[in-house]
């Protein structure tokens, strides 16, 4: 008995903390999402049911946010992981200046998001004084003048994806370079003695050996991209609905605190829809990984 008491006492801070900041809000969100016509001021509602979900799913702003989020996820997760893998392979095969390049590639990770946003503005935004660096480059090759920040949808999405990839890459490079360094060189020697072509060494040895790390990056990449919001704000400002670049998390935020906000029930319903999507994708990921990922 006494032992039990000590154990509970030791657990108490964690339980309190998790209870107040994790479990209670989670339950609360679930409850909110089913309360119809919740009023912030009077803290009252007139019924329970699925109306909030129906509303959110019919809201064109939510549909836009859903579409944006999916496009960002589908484009940035594979691309950022792939490019990070290429850069890591490059890093692990050069000897000279490796530390220098490693530092350079890691810099975005420690740079302030808003500062990065500012730099991207200079690159992409059309102002009264300049067309933006990228647009100028495009024009050199005979392209049209494009405003990537306030222009057409595809241009904004392009800038958004470049930004997202650039932001998430350093962490992936860091993880992958250490994963590559962790492969025992004896396997490469064995493969070399057996006259294995380079691409085959990569495909048959390197890739399976670092597959757990790639899988980790893909899963966290998916989750992170589905939760994208701050990067969008950094590029397009806080009124994402007006820019047509809102994301699901952005929609949730707007429903709570935005100009048209004050609807915790809609926000909760949207958040739970996001949860369902992330959950499904993660389960699919796990199922795929069983066949492709090798754990030692």
């Amino acid at each position: 008995m006494k032992k039990d008491l000590t154990a509970w006492l030791c657990l108490l801070p964690a339980i309190l903390f998790l209870g107040i900041f994790m479990i209670y809000p989670l339950v609360d969100v679930l409850v909110y999402s089913f309360e119809e016509g919740y009023n912030f001021a009077s803290r009252s509602f007139w019924g329970t049911g699925l109306y909030n979900y129906a509303y959110v799913l019919h809201d064109p702003f939510f549909i836009q946010a859903l579409k944006n989020t999916f496009i960002i996820v589908i484009i940035t997760v594979p691309l950022s992981t792939g490019i990070a893998l290429l850069i890591s392979l490059g890093l692990s095969s050069v000897k000279a200046l490796r530390d220098f390049f490693q530092t350079v590639f890691f810099l975005p990770y420690v740079t302030n998001t808003l500062a990065v946003g500012l730099v991207f503005m200079i690159l992409f935004k059309k102002t009264a004084y300049s067309d933006g660096l990228i647009s100028l480059l495009l024009q050199i090759f005979g392209g049209p003048s494009v405003d990537f920040i306030d222009g057409p949808y595809w241009a904004k999405m392009f800038a958004m994806c470049v930004y997202t990839i650039w932001i998430v890459m350093p962490f992936k490079i860091l993880i992958l370079t250490s994963a590559l360094a962790g492969v025992n060189p004896m396997y490469y020697k064995a493969a070399q003695v057996d006259a294995t072509p380079k691409w085959r060494i990569f495909y048959k040895i390197t890739l399976p050996m670092i597959s757990p790390m790639i899988f980790y990056l893909v899963i966290t990449g998916f989750i992170g991209a589905f939760k994208a919001y701050s990067d969008e704000v950094a590029l397009f400002g806080t009124d994402l609905n007006a820019a047509g670049m809102n994301t699901i998390v952005g929609y949730v935020y707007d429903m709570l605190y935005g100009n048209s906000g004050g609807y915790p029930s809609y926000a909760s319903a949207a958040a739970l829809i996001l949860f369902a999507i992330v959950f499904t994708i993660t389960v699919i990921n796990l199922m795929v990984s069983r066949k492709t990922v090798f754990y030692q």
Binding site: K189, A195, P208
Partner: protein
């Protein structure tokens, strides 16, 4: 395939960058390995034997010297063009591939005229699998195998592409004692059946002695002696070879040659006709001691260890180099120390004399 190493030297830049001088791992190494033999490359750790192996397979490039396989020079060929099979100390089996796929891996690399069909690959794999006797294990992953089984798979993978030379780096060091004896016999059998020129590296003299056709003893990157196991044991060219081979170790006394006799502590133990007077080291194999009440070698008796087949006497002597003398005598012989002393005479053919300064052999 005959292998010839000519004046092979390998220098590495010193790890300690303050020291400009290179580390010489292999020094002017001359060796000719006859076709179809099992060669044991023997030496203490750090003597450069693994470097020699890496030079032969091409994973390292020699600083100087040349390597020939048969009549062809391979010095500048990359490892994949040399047609060698290499078994790593830790086997280096690809952990994510099944045993079957591991063995198939080298075959899938064959290109051009050597390219095999699936059926040919399968036939080759079945053949080598039955040679190393791992028939039931083909679907398993390496981590589901014991050390000995992994070893066999590694040998199968090295053999499946029919190399001209098979190289094994410390093939038995990761196995437990019982498995080691079993596996080394297996190694011998496989080598005899395939007839492939095989070189294996070991620091274990017993291992080298038991299965090699020829032993090559190395020390500090320099070849000390090459010969058949018994020859190296009986006729070591220097004190290092004499003490490196044989357990218990050979017993070394400081002594001298005086008036045509080898003396330890002024007592003549051996005839040395026609030899000039000088300081020598007298090395006696443990089985070279004979209990003899009137023997010239008087030693302090320490203990007697019964080992069943024979008895080991542990003793001391003032001119002995090292801690304890170990003499092995037949178990039926009684040991009766008088005043804590035992007396021995020596079997002349178990005693080897070395120059005290150069430590090279003096043939009597």
């Amino acid at each position: 395939m005959k292998i010839v190493l000519q004046h092979l030297t390998k220098r590495f830049p010193n790890r300690n960058k303050k020291i400009k001088e290179d580390v010489i791992a292999v020094n002017d190494f001359d060796l000719e390995i006859p076709d179809g033999k099992l060669i044991g490359l023997l030496g203490p750790s750090g003597c450069g034997k693994s470097t020699v192996l890496n030079l032969i397979c091409g994973l390292e490039k020699p600083t100087e010297g040349r390597i020939f396989f048969g009549e062809t020079e391979v010095t500048d060929l990359p490892p994949e063009k040399r047609g060698v099979g290499l078994v790593f100390q830790n086997y280096a089996l690809y952990p994510h591939l099944s045993v079957y796929d591991n063995i198939k891996f080298p075959l899938e690399n064959l290109r051009g005229s050597e390219k095999l069909t699936k059926e040919e690959m399968d036939a080759r794999i079945r053949e080598v699998v039955s040679l190393v006797q791992i028939d039931g294990l083909l679907e398993r992953k390496p981590n589901e195998l014991s050390g000995g089984q992994q070893q066999r798979v590694a040998i199968a993978r090295a053999l499946v592409k029919m190399p001209q030379v098979l190289l094994l780096d410390e093939p038995l060091s990761n196995l437990d004692a019982r498995l080691r004896i079993q596996t080394r016999e297996e190694l011998k059998r496989i080598q005899v059946e395939t007839g492939i020129t095989t070189i294996f590296v070991t620091h274990d003299q017993e291992e080298a002695m038991s299965i090699s056709d020829t032993i090559v003893v190395m020390k500090d990157g320099v070849l000390q002696q090459q010969g058949e196991p018994q020859e190296i044991y009986d006729e070591p060219v220097n004190l290092f070879v004499a003490s490196f081979l044989g357990t218990p170790k050979i017993n070394v006394f400081t002594g001298e040659i005086k008036n045509g006799q080898v003396c330890i502590d002024h007592m003549p133990v051996l005839e040395a006709n026609g030899q000039a007077d000088r300081e020598v080291l007298v090395a006696v194999r443990p089985e070279g001691f004979v209990l003899d009440e009137n023997g010239p070698l008087s030693c302090g008796f320490v203990s007697r260890e019964v080992m069943g087949r024979d008895t080991s006497i542990v003793a001391t002597h003032g001119d002995f180099q090292g801690e304890r003398i170990r003499a092995i005598i037949p178990s039926e012989q009684e040991v009766s120390p008088e005043n804590g002393m035992v007396r021995f005479s020596l079997k002349p053919h178990k005693v080897r004399i070395f120059d005290a300064k150069t430590q090279t052999r003096i043939k009597l």
